[in-house]
Symmetry: C2
Subunit: 339 residues, 2 copies
């Protein structure tokens, strides 16, 4: 099925959709992984220990794959896409470490979060170290344009996280406000990861914009599917427990939709649960029942599909290639996780 | 007295020693402050609020002054020293925000620490935002050499902080190990701040090295004096309570020296205090008495003076100027805080 564009509507088994991309980027990705291991090294013992805990914990490396694929699809023949892909993954890893501290999460990708093993202090500082290394690697490429895009993304991600702090337990958050948060905290890095590919390939502005748009919309779809999975996926598939967002009082799109569609009494239930912290397992079951009653999970997936379609169309003007097909299949993979 | 090199041995009133530098950099510093205020801005309300809490809290802005002075002393006529100085201050501010979370500090520069007012979460994230803004500003200058120096400093600072985590309550830490920590966590940013001045001025390698060395040794002296003040200065002069390091179980040079010079019984006292967390005000008084008994505070100041002298000699080959005199006087200021 590789190379064939599959309609996003089709239900496929998870993982199938990234296979083509994984195969295409494999030689490059091996070099990215080698750089990641080398640059996570430090004479300060704790640093490689923590960094490797995260790096080895089986993330999909979707973001660096975007950088590699985008650069190759634009005909890039140099080495800098490897370095930039490693930078992107480090930025992501740093964000995860800081996120876990901010969210006080116990688990990350099905393993104990680093902060549970080494403390909040080490998570903050190793995150800072990885962010510093990410910038050093970008500087190595000598591409000021790539540095501009990625350093901008770093500030936008932090802004998004701060926005999330204030929307976290605020049930008046509407869909647009929520989108603004996830555009910043999640989609901006996907966008930057994709955009730096054509940038180092020396592509024209419309091509750079196309990849940026693809990455941004893929990122939005990815986050919305994550939100849906937190109320509907199985714990094993997600690598964390269902209901984490509920217990942390996080506003996500399923809740935004359900709250606005519900009765006064149902709204009181959400306020007590998310703002009031009354989020027992029994109440989680009630929450999921309410989400189903108002089609809030299905509609979140439908919204995600909308952004996946926008991402697909962003690449439409690009000429056909195995790379392009693989990037389209990633959209399919993303949606298929929740259906 | 401006323009006259004062012997470092002389006891002068605090602040006197930075006046010449402050006066020389004033026009540039006003522009740095304007940039700092502008770049601490964000549509996300919490960000400027927290950033300004720190920015307005009366830090000396010593690090950005180094960048400005170094650039001007090397004849730089452009604009980029302003931007780089603001970057340096943002890197420093980001470090302070993360430090307070790591150290669980209640106070910062005589005010409540940001984390006490807005929570650890916001401190971590606003620190990330400011670090991102720092990199964006560096990118604006287009100087890859400056980017290289400052991004390297960012990783070294984080490494130093992680090292400090492991040495924190470890009384076996020796002077060399302690120096390695403060070289990374404090002196590296002073060194980078000074080094980027001649870099954007296009100076020769020996000049760049001279400023790096000046900054590094000033940074070491500065930190050692801070350590001495924590056991000997007055609370008002320091902007934080005497004994913070003691209560946090932090290894600093006065303790390193005193522990190694003491009796078995005295060593037990230090272990119970710093490792065991038995650090009451009464025991702080005992600790200060022990430090005095072994001249540990005076000898820490003497060590600081050694680095200040190294810093002075680093600039020795540079031709005389008001800038050079002002930078030498900063060394004097640094030492005079503790005598």
């Amino acid at each position: 099925m590789s190379g064939v564009v599959v309609p996003i509507e089709g239900g496929r088994s998870p993982k199938a959709g990234v296979e083509a991309l994984v195969k295409l980027v494999r030689p490059d990705m091996e070099r990215v992984n080698a750089i990641i291991l080398a640059k996570a090294g430090s004479n300060v013992e704790l640093i490689p220990e923590i960094a490797r805990h995260l790096i080895d914990s089986g993330g999909k490396r979707l973001r660096p794959m975007l950088t590699l694929a985008a650069a190759r699809m634009c005909g890039y023949q140099g080495e800098h896409h490897i370095t930039l892909a490693a930078s992107v993954e480090f930025m992501h890893t740093a964000t995860l470490l800081h996120d876990d501290v901010v969210d006080q999460s116990d688990m990350r990708r099905g393993k104990l979060a680093a902060r549970m093993l080494w403390g909040n202090e080490a998570s903050v500082l190793v995150g800072d170290f990885l962010l510093g290394q990410a910038f050093r690697m970008m500087v190595e490429t000598g591409s000021l344009a790539a540095l501009n895009v990625l350093s901008h993304a770093a500030t936008v991600i932090a802004e998004g996280e701060v926005m999330q702090l204030s929307t976290a337990k605020n049930l008046e958050t509407n869909e647009d406000e929520y989108l603004e948060v996830i555009r910043a905290k999640t989609a901006a890095l996907f966008a930057a990861a994709a955009e730096v590919g054509p940038i180092i390939a020396g592509s024209d502005k419309p091509v750079i914009s196309a990849f940026r748009s693809y990455g941004m919309n893929l990122g939005l779809a990815f986050q919305l599917i994550d939100d849906a999975l937190d109320y509907g996926g199985s714990a094993s598939a997600l690598g964390k427990n269902v209901g984490d967002d509920f217990r942390e009082g996080k506003m996500t799109l399923p809740v935004v939709l359900c709250y606005r569609r519900g009765t006064d009494e149902e709204r009181r239930f959400w306020r007590e649960s998310l703002e009031g912290g009354n989020a027992s397992d029994e109440r989680l079951a009630d929450a999921i029942a309410l989400l189903r009653k108002y089609d809030a999970i299905d509609d979140t997936v439908a919204r995600a599909r909308h952004y996946a379609e926008m991402a697909r169309d962003a690449l439409a003007p690009m000429k056909s290639s195995a790379w392009k097909d693989a990037l389209i299949e990633v959209l399919e993979f993303c949606i298929s996780r929740a259906v």
